[in-house]
């Protein structure tokens, strides 16, 4: 009996299928392996599987690889059928790209002992040269935790021939890197900003690839990506490279528009391929048994990734036109109107078609100058993009609906778009022809009836308002209103007027209602009139008449003042009144004397001369004045 029997089945899954989360295929494979192991174990006799010790270790497929080549980090757990938890790998992204993982389990029976070994394989591609350390990490399996040893990996610039002995996994696969690789082929290595680079990711193979899947899409940092639609069946070509015949196929094609200048790197694209191989092992019993179509050995999986490619992006040269918006490529602009003449308020469609190659999706809307008197609506944009080997081209159509509001001729100036032509390395301006549309009819009412478009007043700069011109209306500083004479005049004059008016009113009222007051107020006037009559008689012949008039004046004055009837006035009564207590003799005496003089002269011979009469008149006036003053007291 042979000391060692090996039963091995590879379980392969791309990236996401970890040992713990087993997919149907994995479960089926494990079951198959277990059944096979059980059969073999029974055939071999009694076993001691329970006593098996659990252990874990990590090792690299090879300790030295070249940049762009693959290496495998193996985690081997013996004595357990699975891990309790997916191991957390250290971060290897500084020098490598993770491609995918797989696992295999094997059952060995040796000397009556059964060894179950699980190997998880993590495939990486080295991206930069140097010596790196894979730091220790923890593997949990069979109820215990195991820490791996630190591993050292040397990545050299030159490709290292990978001997089959260095990598147990690769040895079984029998796929050398030169048998299957991926290459990123850019259309140009040096472009301007926004000038497209068409990148062709091609698979080169000398083995029989039954299928592949992309496991890692490169990040498109710094690029605007225009993906070419994948062909249904890849076009297979034949290429001779380094004296060897390869079958090639494009697996991905993109147009990349660099968004800024500088050196950009096309990150690797990773694939996982299923390769049909023939086992060459002489000891495989299944091959002997099943022949070429062996169920277990017909197809194996392998991973590959493209090497990073650097693209140099040049900044756009100076001297940009004013209306340049960043488009690089080639442009043509055409503008058309759907009719030449239109009625007021009827719509006319202006179509601006921009055709060319370049990043049309990022093309800024052309500035169309809408003629005054037209109402314009936001354009409807349609786009058609063709992806060719040379790059991306297409057309972008803007449909503007214009509604005229006033009759006349609406002129649309040429629509201009500036762009940079990378072939000629100059800025160009594409322009359409000028258009005109005749508008007939009557101006429509509405906000646009005047043909002007309303807009807010734009403030160009701020400044203080202008000074006051004209007369400054100066007043004395720090003088309040109360210091101004006009204030007091305005305040007091109306007051005085109202006061005077009130006095006047009171006077009139008494004149009307108070006879005594009225007579008294009239007395002086009447007396004066009589005395004036008397004065006329001073020089006259009739002496008696003079004295009679003067007497009337004296009597009437006193009667008015005292409010008694003048006609029936008895001299004694007057005398009594004047002699009554309280009447000042100083006033009464001269008055009485005058009265008596009048009486005497009226009846005595008329001897009094003109001078005498005049003197007497003076005495009468004085007596009256004294009496008026006395009575007013």
């Amino acid at each position: 009996m042979r000391g060692v029997r090996v039963l091995r089945r590879f379980r392969v899954f791309a990236g996401g299928c970890a040992p713990m989360r087993r997919c149907t295929v994995c479960r089926w494979a494990t079951l198959l392996a277990a059944v096979a192991a059980l059969g073999l174990a029974l055939a071999a006799g009694p076993t001691d599987a329970a006593a098996q010790q659990v252990s874990a270790r990590a090792y690299l497929s090879s300790n030295e690889v070249g940049v762009g080549q693959q290496f495998v980090l193996n985690v081997e757990v013996s004595g357990a059928q699975g891990v309790d938890q997916d191991p957390e790998l250290p971060d290897l992204s500084s020098f490598s790209v993770y491609l995918g993982s797989g696992s295999s389990s094997s059952i060995q029976m040796s000397g009556g002992r059964t060894n179950i070994t699980l190997t998880i394989q993590y495939r990486f591609q080295a991206t930069s040269a140097g010596t790196f350390t894979v730091s220790p990490f923890e593997v949990r399996a069979g109820g215990g935790a195991f820490t791996t040893e630190p591993l050292t990996l040397t990545v050299s610039d030159a490709p290292v021939p990978q001997g089959s002995s260095a990598a147990p996994g690769a040895a079984d696969r029998g796929i050398a890197p030169e048998d299957l690789f991926v290459e990123a082929v850019p259309s140009r290595r040096q472009v301007y900003e926004n000038q497209p680079v068409v990148v062709d990711y091609r698979i080169f193979t000398r083995v029989n690839v039954s299928s592949y899947s992309i496991t890692q899409l490169p990040p498109a940092t710094g690029f605007w990506v225009e993906e070419y639609p994948p062909a249904g069946n890849p076009v297979i070509g034949q290429t001779v490279r380094d004296g060897m015949q390869y079958t090639t196929a494009t697996i991905r094609k993109v147009a990349l528009f660099p968004t800024g200048s500088g050196t950009r790197t096309l990150e690797p694209l990773g694939i996982e391929a299923q390769v049909r191989v023939r086992r060459r092992s002489a000891f495989d019993p299944f091959e002997d048994f099943f022949g070429r179509g062996s169920l277990l050995n017909s197809s194996i999986s392998t991973a590959a990734a493209s090497r990073p490619v650097e693209i140099e992006v040049l900044p756009l040269p100076g001297g940009r036109p004013e209306n340049f918006t960043g488009f690089v490529g080639d442009l043509e602009v055409a503008a058309t109107l759907d009719r030449d003449s239109v009625q007021v308020s009827d719509a006319v469609t202006l179509t601006v078609e921009v055709a060319g190659s370049g990043n049309l999706r990022m093309l800024a809307e052309p500035e169309v100058e809408i003629p005054p008197g037209f109402e314009a609506f936001p354009p409807e944009v349609t786009e058609r993009v063709d992806r060719t080997d040379a790059g991306v081209s297409g057309t972008r159509t803007y449909d503007y609906v214009l509604v005229p509001r006033v009759p006349g001729v609406g002129a649309i100036p040429p629509v201009e778009l500036a762009y940079f032509d990378p072939e000629r390395e100059t800025y160009e301006v594409a322009a359409s022809g000028a258009l005109a549309v005749e508008v007939t009819g009557v101006a429509a009412d509405g906000p646009l009836g005047t043909g002007r478009v309303r807009a807010g007043v734009e403030e160009l700069r701020t400044d203080i308002r202008f000074i006051q011109l004209g007369r400054p209306a100066l007043v004395l500083a720090n003088r309040t209103l109360f210091a101004h004479p006009l204030f007091w005049v305005t305040l007091l004059v109306p007051l005085a007027l109202v006061g005077g008016a009130a006095g006047l009113r009171r006077h009139r009222d008494r004149l009307h209602g108070d006879v005594a007051y009225a007579r008294s107020r009239r007395a002086a006037k009447v007396a004066r009139r009589r005395l004036a009559e008397a004065r006329k008689l001073v020089d006259g012949e009739d002496v008696r008449a003079f004295y009679a008039e003067a007497g009337h004046a004296l009597e009437g004055f006193l009667a008015d003042k005292l409010n008694i009837a003048a006609a029936g006035m008895i001299r004694n009564e007057v005398r009594d009144r004047l002699a009554a207590p309280g009447v000042d003799t100083e006033a009464a005496e001269p008055y009485m004397e005058c009265l008596e003089e009048c009486d005497r002269q009226r009846f005595a011979p008329p001897t009094a001369s003109a001078e005498e009469r005049a003197r007497f008149l003076g005495r009468v006036e004085a007596a009256m004045a004294a009496m008026a003053e006395h009575l007013a007291r």
Partner: protein, 252 residues
């Protein structure tokens, strides 16, 4: 000289502007001419001579403010705009320029909100320009007096005269009280405008740098609450209080 001749002479003297005013008007016009020729310093000289002669008007202060603004003296510009505003509180030009000048100042002071009654009172007090207020009050007074005269003398329709008297009386009471408060400056705080470029405000009337509370800059308006010899206690619009030397600011 009889009373009538004195009165006539007084009325004539009031009706005709005093002779020096013509000279001031000429100075004003000369200032305006220089301002339009962008000789702001020359314009200022003319304007300030009017001020030195003891005259003032909102327009004069406004023009002085403008000339200072153009001469890049922000503090003085704001001072004179404030003076113009004191005379004509609701003049749109003055307010616009004052706001623009303030916005160029260094200090951005958010005023404390005021009790709404004070806001209404202040709005009412500043509603009319002085001349309009005086004119309206005088018109109301004369109307009331005239109506009273008619009533007393029993001339015309008594009902209309009575209404006119009542209306005039209300007008006089309302506007007269406002005018009196404004003329006497009753309850009005003293304000000052900082003219020095940068002023440290002290917590006490002392130059001790340890007592410095904060720094204000030219053009900031402050309320003057107390004064002691060379020091003023000022209150900012946001309520900050401190002392500054009297010479760093000028009262409005």
């Amino acid at each position: 000289m009889s009373a009538r001749t004195i009165l006539t002479a007084a009325l004539l003297a009031l009706a005709l502007p005093p002779a020096p005013l013509h000279a001031q008007d000429e100075l004003f016009e000369e200032g305006n001419r220089l301002y339009q020729q962008e000789d702001y310093q020359g314009a200022l000289d003319n304007y300030l001579r009017i001020r030195e002669a003891g005259f003032e008007s909102p327009g004069l202060y406004y023009n002085i403010g403008n000339a200072y603004f153009k001469a890049n003296e922000l503090g003085r510009a704001i001072l004179y705009y404030e003076r113009a505003r004191r005379l004509a509180p609701s003049d749109a030009d003055i307010l616009a320029n004052l706001e623009l000048a303030r916005s160029l100042g260094v200090d951005e002071i958010v005023p404390l909100p005021r009790f709404w009654l004070f806001r209404v009172g202040s709005w009412w007090m500043n509603l009319f320009p002085r001349s309009l207020l005086i004119g309206l009050t005088a018109a109301g007074y004369l109307m009331a007096a005239g109506a009273a005269l008619l009533l007393v003398l029993r001339l015309g329709a008594a009902s209309w005269a009575r209404r006119a008297a009542v209306a005039g009386g209300i007008l006089v009471l309302l506007l007269g009280a406002t005018l009196a408060v404004r003329e006497t400056g009753l309850g009005q705080a003293r304000h000052g405008v900082v003219l020095a470029a940068e002023v440290g405000v002290q917590s006490a009337p002392s130059d001790d740098p340890a007592l410095q509370l904060f720094v204000i800059h030219a053009g900031t308006r402050v309320r003057v609450d107390r004064s002691s010899e060379e020091w003023l206690e000022v209150v900012l619009d946001d309520g900050k209080v401190g002392w500054v030397r009297a010479e760093v600011l000028e009262e409005v």
